[in-house]
Structures are given as structure tokens and as C-alpha cells.
Symmetry: C2
Subunit: 330 residues, 2 copies
């Protein structure tokens, strides 16, 4: 979800006023904060808060899937820098409506995702809330400092890649809102919204490859997330509309919902695929290595250029799309 | 604040189901989780969530004090194990009522406490909430593994000590509720509730002294917090009512509010003083050292015994007070 102006302003203010120190490698403004621990090793830490009615709707989000998602979106931030997730903290502000069965299902989902990624729950907090469930998760990870992939180190001339189909989660959310979530045909899209999969293994392979220049995860949509990399690296980007990977099912859902599949891909957010850049000469080797090691495909969607801003090329026309959220594309 | 049964049940369930792993030194159930980083060094991590209407009331909690408290209660958890706080993450779920001036004051208070303790804000999240402000803070600390003070290592025969007057924060809250917070005479008590002071320097001195067996901070009241140490260490405790340090101002406020000062001290919570145990033979040395290094007094309030439970001795009578919250003493 693209942040309202007020939230971006708070983050910018915090970033200006927050301190700095010797052991801090990456502070506010990337997927994780990173600090040195042992020689050549860094710790990564990320936190994400989900509010009922803003980030999820209990009308269609089953507690087990919500528990999975609360873990996955944080683990995705570790994956986004190439790290190995290790430990999690879970803070629950629960309303009186969260009965014992709901809590157990939520916790089962949360712990299942941790277990899938070898992450251990080591602490947290449980408090009452009057009106809204608020879930705050913190995940700690680790990696070699030399392999760290930030948003700051993209270079003009780089190819921009994504790790999978985009817009799937936005389509799933639209289908949930239209009351179509129960139709079996839409399951992959609905699942992309309710239970996204963090790309930990791919993040590790990309980080250890030495072939990637900058990386983050796609949480706010390509238009916003690529603008982050561009702003942090001091480069511009040109994305080619025809190259953005859209699944046939997404296009079918877009027809059903009366939406544009491309708008979902650019501005929908919450896909939790990886977005990264690499030198053109390393591209073939990178694609071949990932295909061999993980059997998955990578999708080049554009290139980085000198300058600033994110431009979309569509049918020979170009337009600026930096930071544009869903509302801008309608 | 003493947790309702439902919250304790969730924590117990999480503790049973959460995993364990090689590098984890202390998991769920102490002030912080602790894991090994470098040789002989451990990282500490703690998180605390505060909900509007449950943990604070905007009617009397100014935003700058609330920002300070959100930082202090987490830093106190690091102090409670003897650690050095290093980094903080701040997650804000803010309602539309939180205007720019409110946010700035909150943030100024939060950052001021971090700065007082050399802690650096390295990340967080800012989201919208419909009805309630929810503040989740995570603080990371570090220390030598050998100096770590947990709740598990108290021994029968130990003296139980606290680091300052108890019940002050509970009295301050009662005065706020009665609309008396503006009267200058009550300022120290009101301040104890609105802006508690984490005992970081004392925690470090106690941890490095090698004379302390077990420690935690007083967040839920002596009756509950000492019961935690007893349960984790497999011992019992006898507290002597007459030895509990009560300030003259507290006794005066108790008269004004029609409350018992001892009940506030035992069950009020949120004092954020340190509660710790030490061998009787080391007591004089410990008290002298703390007096010399920090100029502050320590108060022996009881002793640990074989067995289980926390007993209060008052005027020759004993009664079990383990885990008793405010409601049990009225």
C-alpha cells in the first residue's frame, strides 16, 4: 500500500532527526536497518505493523493466513537485502473479538511460516486493544557484510529485473472486495494477497552471486519501489510496459473487475517479489544461474539511466510514474 | 499493569510452541531475548506495545512525555538484564487525531530519551489507525555473555533488593485519574507515571559487579515481578512489608486518594526500578559499591527461601501475594 503523504513526512522527519553511530551500516530508509556484529558479519532488523481495517480485513482474511502474512512480509524485508532471517518478535494488540480459537489459528499460521524459514520466535508482547487488531512484527537476520544488497548502489546502465508476476496481490484484494474470493479459479490471486511468499532463497542466491547491484522487495508497487532505488542511488529508470510479467489469470481477473492489469502491476503493491538491478553484461549469467539453482525465471523490465525519475514506456509513449500509487492510475 | 488471564495464556502458549536454536541464550519469558553474536558477546532484544486507552490516556499524558515513556520502558528491559542499549525501532499506528504538532512532540520526547542513553533510532514503521494510537517499540542492546543477569539464577538464602521507592507510578496514575495531576506538590509522583526513568547505569554496575544472582525490572508490581523470579528460579520469597521503601509523599498521596501506599508498592506496577537478588555475604559490599559509584541507595525488602510462592510478612502475619495485581489488594 502506498503511504499517505502524512506518513512519508513522518518517516522523512525521523530520518533527518535520528542519530548515527559507528556500528550502523544502514539506517532508516532501506528494507532493514543493518549493523555490524562480529568481524565481517552484520545483523539486519526490520519491523512492520498491520492494522485491522487498514492493512487487512477480517471479513476475508482467515486468521491462519493473517498469521502467515504477518510473518512473511517481515521475512521479505530480510530477503530484500539478501539476508538470512533468524529470529522474530511478535507484538499483538488484540480486541475482545479475538477469541481463543482465532488466536490459536493466527499463531499457528505465524509459527508455520517461521518454521518454513528456520526462524525462531524469541519474544514479543500481548496487549488489549479496544477497537482494532494491531500486529507488530520484528524480524532479525544476518549475513556477511560484503554480500549486503541495499537500495543505494544501482548504476546507470543496469538492467532492472523482477522475480515473478506482478499485480497478483492487488488483483486478489480486488476479488476479495468484490466477494469473489471463494471462486476456485481465482485462488492463486487471492492467495497472493492473503498469503504472500517471501523470496528468501532467491535473495540469498542473488546476494551471494556478486552480480547484483541493488535490491529491495516489491511491497508498494513497481512505480514506488523502483523510485526508492532511483532516489537512493541517484539514477533514473525507464520501464517498458510490454516487458512487465502479467499472468494470464491476472488479465482475466482485470476483465472481471473492470481494471487494468498493468495498473495493478505498477501500483498495486504487496507482491513481495524481489526488484533488483544488475549490469547488462552479467545478465545472461545471472538468469542462467538462478534458473539452474532454483528453477525460477527472472524478468528484465527496464533499465537505469543517468538522471532521475521513473518513466514508463508504453506503445512508444513515455510518462513519469515515480511514487504513483493506485489512485494515480485509475 | 498486571496482565489479564487471556494475555498470560497467550504468552504461555507461545512459549510452549516457539522453537529453540543453537545461538539463543534466553528465549521467551525474561525481560529480553538474548542471542550470541560474536565470541563472548550477546545481543539483547525487547519489544513493548502501548495502546491508547489501555496503557496511556491522552487526557493527561502529554505527547512529549508519552514519547519519552515509550522509549524508557523498553530501555528498562535492557537495563533489567544489565545490558547496554544500542538501537531502537519505532512503530507508530496513529489516528487522524494525531496532528503534526502532536507527532513532533511525541518524536522529540522519544528521541530525547534515546539520546540520553546513547541509543540510535534505526528503523520502524508508520501506519494509520482508525480509533486508537498503538505504539510498538523494539530496543536492541549488547553485553558480555558472562555478565548477563536473568530471572533464572536466584538462589535460596538470597537477599531481595529494589533500587528505589515503589508505588510512585501507581500513585501518579491515581492522581491523574482524580484530576490532581496539575498540583505542584504531586509532581514527583505524576512524573513517575508519565515519564519513568530506566535504571541503565545501575543495571550495568550490578551486572559487572559479579555479585548479583538474578534481576529484572519492576513493571508489573513487586508481587508479580518477584513471582516471576521465583517461578523461573524454582525458589520462594518472603517480603517484609516494613522494609518496602515508601516515600513520605507517596503516603500523603495515599491519604488523599483513600488508598493503601503498600498496595500501590506491591501491585501498582510501572515503577521501572530494578528488582534483584544477591547472597547475604555480598550484601554490604554491593550496597557500598553502588553508593560509591552512583551515589544511590539499595533497599533490601526480603529474602528467598526453599519452596515456592511469594509471601508478605506484615505485623507478624504472612500471606501469599504471588502474581496479585492491583484488584487483589483493594
Amino acid at each position: 500500500m502506498t503511504r499517505p503523504e502524512g506518513e512519508r513526512e513522518i518517516i522523512a522527519r525521523i530520518r533527518r532527526t535520528a542519530g548515527n553511530c559507528r556500528d550502523l551500516v544502514v539506517g532508516i530508509g532501506d528494507d532493514c536497518a543493518v549493523y555490524k556484529t562480529a568481524l565481517n558479519l552484520v545483523s539486519l532488523v526490520t519491523t512492520d505493523t498491520m492494522v485491522e481495517g487498514v492493512h487487512f480485513d477480517l471479513a476475508w482474511h482467515p486468521p491462519v493466513a493473517l498469521g502467515r502474512k504477518a510473518a512473511s512480509v517481515n521475512i521479505s524485508d530480510i530477503a530484500a537485502m539478501g539476508g538470512l532471517p533468524r529470529f522474530a518478535l511478535l507484538s499483538l494488540a488484540l480486541t475482545p473479538a479475538c477469541e481463543s480459537r482465532w488466536r490459536e489459528a493466527f499463531l499457528a499460521g505465524f509459527l508455520a511460516v517461521l518454521s518454513e524459514h528456520g526462524v525462531v520466535l524469541i519474544g514479543g508482547d500481548t496487549v488489549q486493544s479496544g477497537h482494532e487488531i494491531v500486529l507488530s512484527v520484528t524480524v532479525l537476520g544476518e549475513m556477511a557484510e560484503a554480500e549486503l544488497l541495499t537500495r543505494k548502489t544501482a548504476r546507470p546502465g543496469d538492467v532492472v529485473l523482477v522475480s515473478g508476476f506482478l499485480g497478483e496481490a492487488a488483483a486478489g484484494l480486488a476479488l476479495c472486495r468484490m466477494g469473489l474470493a471463494q471462486e476456485a479459479v481465482w485462488h492463486p490471486l487471492v492467495s497472493a494477497h492473503l498469503d504472500p511468499v517471501p523470496q528468501v532463497a532467491l535473495g540469498r542466491v542473488l546476494a551471494t552471486s556478486g552480480l547484483v547491484h541493488a535490491m529491495q522487495d516489491l511491497s508498494d508497487g513497481l512505480a514506488t519501489d523502483l523510485a526508492h532505488i532511483c532516489a537512493e542511488s541517484g539514477v533514473g529508470a525507464v520501464v517498458t510496459a510490454e516487458k512487465i510479467p502479467l499472468s494470464p489469470l491476472l488479465c482475466r481477473a482485470a476483465e472481471t473487475c473492470g481494471q487494468s492489469p498493468l495498473d495493478w502491476a505498477l501500483a498495486g503493491g504487496e507482491d513481495y517479489q524481489l526488484l533488483f538491478t544488475a549490469g547488462e553484461q552479467q545478465l545472461a549469467g545471472l538468469v542462467a544461474m538462478v534458473s539452474k539453482e532454483l528453477g525460477c525465471e527472472l524478468y528484465p523490465v527496464g533499465r537505469l539511466v543517468e538522471g532521475r525519475g521513473v518513466f514508463l514506456e508504453e506503445a512508444g509513449q513515455g510518462r513519469e510514474i515515480s511514487y504513483q500509487g493506485y489512485e494515480h492510475f485509475r
